[in-house]
Amino acid sequence: MVSGDRQPMVQFKGILKRFGKVTAVEKMDFDIEEGSLVTLLGPSGCGKTTLLRMVAGLEEPTEGDIFIKGKRVNDIPIHKRNLGMIFQNYALFPHKTIFDNVAFGLKYRNVSKAQIETKVTRALEMVRLPGVEKRMPSQLSGGQQQRIAMARAIVIEPDVLLMDEPLSALDENLREAMRREVDNLQQMLGVTTIFVTHDQREALSMSDKILVMKDGRKQQEGNPESVYNEPANHFVADFLGHSNFIAGEVVGVDDNHVNVRIETGDILLAENKGGFSRGDRVEMIVRAQRFDAFPKAEFQPTAGLNHFQGHIKDRSYMGGEVSYFIELGVDREIHIISMMRTRLYDIGEAVSIQVAPHHCHLIPLE
């Protein structure tokens, strides 16, 4: 739906934010396409919330400009920006009924009384909580309050929906359900959404684009697949998913593969995506789920795949999957997560491990 040359909905240009001597966001450029859901992902203190709050106008950038719909908003006060904000703790007004909470933004937008009622009713239907108008926020559960907060934010038809870790206060099961609901609602309304989270699963499952941040700096931006499968650096690979980092040296490059000699002396193939030449020190990143482990005795290698030996050092059984720590050689172990298509391996058992070259991602050694 989004054409390439359309004006981005939100643009950060050279944005920088300092609190006193602390730099919360380092000079950053970033575009958000209209109608997309963009996640700002990173550990706490990485500047993601500050970035979001600058869009809302709750923080002023120290340097740089923010554009919404191509218009510079730095000097536009908060209440004139037409944004919907959802807070981590919902921030429902405890002294107002649900109706008054949801109608709040409309009241300040010259909407007629009759229209307010229609819109509030429709918003409550959208979040699947019709008929709670007369209740007080304290009479609703956490998940319900979260829905009201959503209804309150979308009812004003904001240009951009801003969500600051909206699901982190919910318990695990509810979070999963709400995540899908937020996703569906966002797609139904087609509203440009900026979603702040430290939860990689939220980010991966919902986003059109992810911006990974650390210490106020952009680490990588891209769609979920590219951020997960082709992490730009050690931090991104480590933060998203369970990764194995294997240091090595490039010993050969051909059209399809880069040959890497790893610490154990084994030579592994990685898909050649360019950028590496013989003699480079590299780090090979392999997701724990990408390995397959077989009993050593029965193992028959598949042509073109990497394979090596090890023995099970430790395991933890997690029901659907098993987490194995496999010792390859001296002081070198890898972590694999197996879906148990064969059987449960014993500690000490010798196994053969296989992984496809296209699951071996290379980054320069940091």
Binding site: P77, F87, F104
Partner: protein, 288 residues
């Protein structure tokens, strides 16, 4: 389970006995005294008669003082709200490093004797006080002009005494307001002033309400400011009790006035709680 029943009572016992010994029993004494008879000789004779109460309502003199007391209490409450909200709000919004010190300063007056604090106004506003001294020095007036010993100075003394209670009560309830509520209001289209009206003000009302009650009750029962800063016509009900009990040693009549004041305050506080009640206001915040 049954044997556990005594536990809460055992835990409550120290505070409960303090309340009984220091509050319930003395009040019972006062009530009993209020029915006694005072002989012309000055002796108190145990009796059960309503003469003391009848005497209070005999003419308009005593009820007039009671009404004045209630009026002054209302005036003090209103002044305290207006003059207390502003500094409390200032502390709440302040991001100064010295905020804690400011708050401490609010409590500083409590470290000085109430009597000394009240008397100090004489040094400021008295005939030979600071203000008159300065005014004469710069030649604005020739003879000192009298500012003390009227209702205004009584109110001033009361304000000085009670303002910190109001400020602290309001401040605490303001501090309890989640700042993201204000941000939410701002994002939805409120100017700063509108957000104050929609969020801050209503959510700080429990503090205002508690402060009002405290100030009202304390004003109604105080006698020092009128005694030190008021004139003969500014007596409040507690002065009357003080004069009867300490001055003329008329315990039965003093007790009767106390019981009347107590009953009136009870009715007012009960009505207040019923309609503007702190409980009511807090109910809507439960779960947040």
């Amino acid at each position: 389970m049954k044997s556990e029943k005594w536990k809460p009572w055992a835990l409550l016992a120290p505070s409960l006995s303090a309340v009984v010994l220091l509050l319930v029993i003395p009040v019972c004494f006062v009530i009993v005294y209020s029915f006694w008879l005072r002989a012309p000789s000055g002796a108190d004779i145990p009796a059960f008669q309503l003469g003391n109460y009848a005497k209070f309502f005999e003419d308009f003199f005593y009820p007039g003082i009671l009404i004045r007391t209630i009026r002054i209490a209302f005036e003090t409450v209103i002044l305290c709200v207006v003059m207390g909200y502003i500094p409390a709000y200032f502390f709440y919004r302040s991001e100064s490093r010295y905020k804690q010190i400011f708050l401490l300063l609010i409590m500083l007056p409590f470290w000085v004797s109430f009597i000394i604090r009240t008397m100090s106004w004489i040094n400021i506003m008295g005939d030979s006080g600071l203000i008159n001294h300065v005014l004469i020095k710069i030649g604005l007036i020739e003879t000192p002009f009298s500012m003390l010993y009227n209702e205004f100075t009584v109110l001033m003394g009361l304000l000085m005494y009670l303002l910190p209670f109001m400020v602290l009560n309001i401040y605490v309830s303001l501090e309890g307001i989640d700042k993201s509520l204000l941000e939410a209001a701002r994002c939805m289209g409120c100017t700063e002033w509108q957000a104050f009206r929609e969020v801050t003000l209503p959510l700080s009302l429990p503090g205002v309400s508690a402060g009002c009650l405290l100030v009202f009750v304390l004003t109604a029962g105080t006698y020092l400011p009128p005694m030190i800063l008021g004139g003969p016509g500014n007596d409040m009900i507690a002065n009357l009790i003080f004069k009867r009990v300490i001055g003329t040693l008329d315990w039965p009549f003093g007790s009767a006035i106390s019981v009347i004041l107590l009953s009136l305050l009870f009715v007012i506080v009960w009505t207040y709680n019923r309609y503007l009640g702190i409980n009511q206001i807090f109910k809507s915040f439960q779960g947040n």
